[in-house]
């Protein structure tokens, strides 16, 4: 019998990378050797820590950035990544540092070689500006309060001839929302810097800019880089934006259906929620719900998307079925074929055979989308995950497509989903 230690094999033992015999030998040794057991315990602790590291999807905005960079007309073409906020911050710090050092050098130079004492520089002519001329970068203390929210480009307002910005008024109609610059220089309307967006106006961000729109008094929308958003309407019955391309993140606290975002291939109707919506250059969209519910609608078809799920739309092909990002790849591919590829029965068979517990919301949507011939099989699969409550029958759904039954089952599915 081997009398030495197995320290070199313990890592592979924990990771189940040893063959059967070797595994048994190490296991037996660990039962009698304190030294190797201590080593095992230390490594096992490290494994426990490493095992809780997260595995997550990339934010949807990443695809929008890639898509935009692949465009031959894009200045990003050539593999230059978009500046992240982190890089931007460091770059700004570097810039500020260079300016500070330069200013300091000039001050030292002037003090040493100009012959003027700083204490004599108090006369009326010391200011280099001519009478009536504004000193550079002078911030108007009378500026309206909402302009103070403009962060990075606040100097734009300060430098701009004050006729527009000091008033802080929307260009035309009285209906407008406050806009806060989060990075870079987003453009509103005709391109002048403004702190508000009015009905009919466009807000456009380039690769380095981001903005936050306050949606009346019901929430906010952050507009990501490379996006174009229009304020369509705002009133007591409806607040409506149109996302032409790019990405936005909405947080809304309002009665259902008060806030709507149009895209070229569908509309996202708020049901009390938080979500990210991306639109690519072709007008296809991806809705990723992170709180509450959103209804995605297109030409009379509706997908109810709860938090933790996504739905896609394809311009010209319509609205997809909501899916969990954690679903398996085969299910995902089959759903793509079913929704947009004319996958038909073959796709439905794959969906049924590959569906897992977290596909329950997808299955519920499929009940009313598959052909009557496939409906019973979808019913059985969903029933295995979420038993239908009393009053809901296989025939009622598979043969009669009973809307009340569907609605009642949906309530159960949603309850289970959030549990």
């Amino acid at each position: 019998m081997y009398q030495g230690h197995y320290k070199n094999e313990i890592q592979a033992f924990i990771d189940q990378e040893l063959g059967k015999d070797e595994r048994r030998a190490v296991g037996e040794h660990l039962m009698v050797c304190d030294e190797c057991r201590r080593e095992h315990d230390d490594l096992k602790l490290g494994v426990s820590f490493a095992s809780i590291l997260p595995r997550t999807d990339a934010p949807d905005a990443v695809w929008a950035r890639i898509d935009s960079a692949l465009d031959p007309a894009s200045p990003q073409m050539g593999l230059i990544p978009q500046a992240s906020f982190f890089n931007l911050r460091r770059g700004l710090a570097f810039g500020v540092a260079v300016i500070a050092v330069s200013v300091l050098s000039v001050v030292v130079y002037v003090n040493l070689f100009s012959g003027n004492s700083p204490y004599t520089a108090q006369g009326p002519n010391q200011n280099s500006t001519t009478p009536g001329q504004q000193p550079p970068l002078a911030v108007n203390p009378q500026a309206p309060a909402h302009n103070a929210n403009l962060r990075v480009n606040s100097n734009v307002n300060a430098n701009t001839n004050s006729s527009n910005t000091d008033k802080g008024l929307p260009p035309s109609s009285g209906k407008s929302w406050q806009v806060e610059t989060l990075a870079g220089m987003p453009k509103i309307g005709d391109g002048t810097a403004s702190a508000r967006i009015a009905v009919g106006e466009l807000l456009e961000t380039d690769a380095k800019s981001k903005a936050k729109i306050t949606v009346a008094n019901i929430g906010s929308v952050e507009v990501a880089p490379n996006s174009r958003v229009k304020l369509v309407e705002t009133g007591k019955d409806e607040h409506r934006l149109a996302l032409e391309r790019g990405s936005l993140h909405a947080k809304i606290f309002a009665p259902p259906r008060l806030f709507v975002v149009d895209t070229p291939s569908g509309k996202a109707v708020d049901l009390g929620c938080e979500y990210t919506l991306d639109v690519d250059r072709f007008g296809n969209s991806v809705l990723n719900v992170t709180g509450g519910f959103v209804a995605m609608e297109d030409r009379g078809r509706e997908s109810i998307v709860p938090a933790g799920m996504k739905v896609m739309t394809r311009k010209g092909k319509g609205l997809g079925t909501p899916f969990s990002p954690d679903t398996n790849a085969e299910f995902r591919r089959a759903l793509e074929r079913f929704d947009f590829g004319g996958g038909g029965r073959a796709a439905v068979q794959t969906l049924i055979s590959k569906a897992e517990f977290y596909d329950m919301v997808t299955l519920w949507h499929l009940l009313s989308r598959v052909s009557p011939a496939d409906r019973a099989a979808v019913f059985d699969k969903l029933a295995a995950f979420v038993p239908p409550p009393t009053g809901i029958t296989r025939d009622g759904i598979s043969k009669q497509n009973d809307k009340t039954m569907l609605q009642n089952w949906r309530n159960e599915v949603e309850k289970m989903w959030f549990e």
Binding site: Q11, A12, P59, L79, P81, N87
Partner: protein, 191 residues
């Protein structure tokens, strides 16, 4: 329950890749959808949970993939993709050090996540601490840990990605775990 990724055993989606080479944007999107989680998760953990940098790396990897498309099919596609992701993460680290090291003099470093003792019992906060310690490891220890415990690759698969022997992988994991255990020993009873 989330499934860990494995190196794809299927033929490496040759058709899809061929379509991408032809510039088919829908094929590119399909390939991205299939693999984005692998790339982003590796980068996110490599950069201690810094989502901006992880997004940058994901963007760079897929742009390289779509514009150069120099995958020759003599390795599994996912092995090649992991290798490219790891190399991009390492290049990015070098670039950041080279370009922005000076900014550290002016105290504009990344915000340090401080977690109170009471909160540490929650897995998410522990994960933040684990990510911070992971980020302090040398790349040669950090990368095998991520590929093994985040991506669920076998020693053979990791060895293929990193082009070294399984023995080297085992010993790097061993060393990485010991450092993790030493630095995170105060959390012993909380996981």
């Amino acid at each position: 329950m989330e499934h860990l990724a494995r190196v794809t055993k299927d033929p490496p989606q040759i058709d899809l890749i061929e379509e991408c080479r032809r510039g088919n944007r829908e094929a590119m999107h399909a390939l991205y959808t299939e693999h984005q989680r692998r790339v982003y998760s590796v980068a996110l953990n490599f950069f201690s949970g810094n989502a901006d940098r992880a997004a940058d790396v994901t963007q760079q990897v897929f742009l390289k993939l779509f514009t150069k498309m120099n995958f020759r099919g003599d390795a599994q596609f996912t092995t090649w993709l992991y290798r490219m992701t790891v190399n991009t993460c390492i290049d990015e680290t070098r670039k950041i050090r080279r370009l922005f090291g000076i900014a550290d003099w002016f105290s504009v470093s990344e915000p340090v996540v401080k977690v109170s003792l009471d909160e540490k019992i929650r897995t998410r906060e522990i994960a933040v601490e684990v990510q911070a310690v992971l980020g302090s490891l040398k790349s040669k220890y950090r990368v095998p840990l991520i590929l093994k415990y985040v991506e669920g690759l076998s020693y053979n698969e990791i060895a293929e990605v990193l082009e070294c022997s399984t023995g080297t992988i085992s010993s790097r994991l061993n060393r990485g775990h010991k450092i993790m255990a030493a630095k995170l020993g105060h959390l012993r009873g909380e996981i």
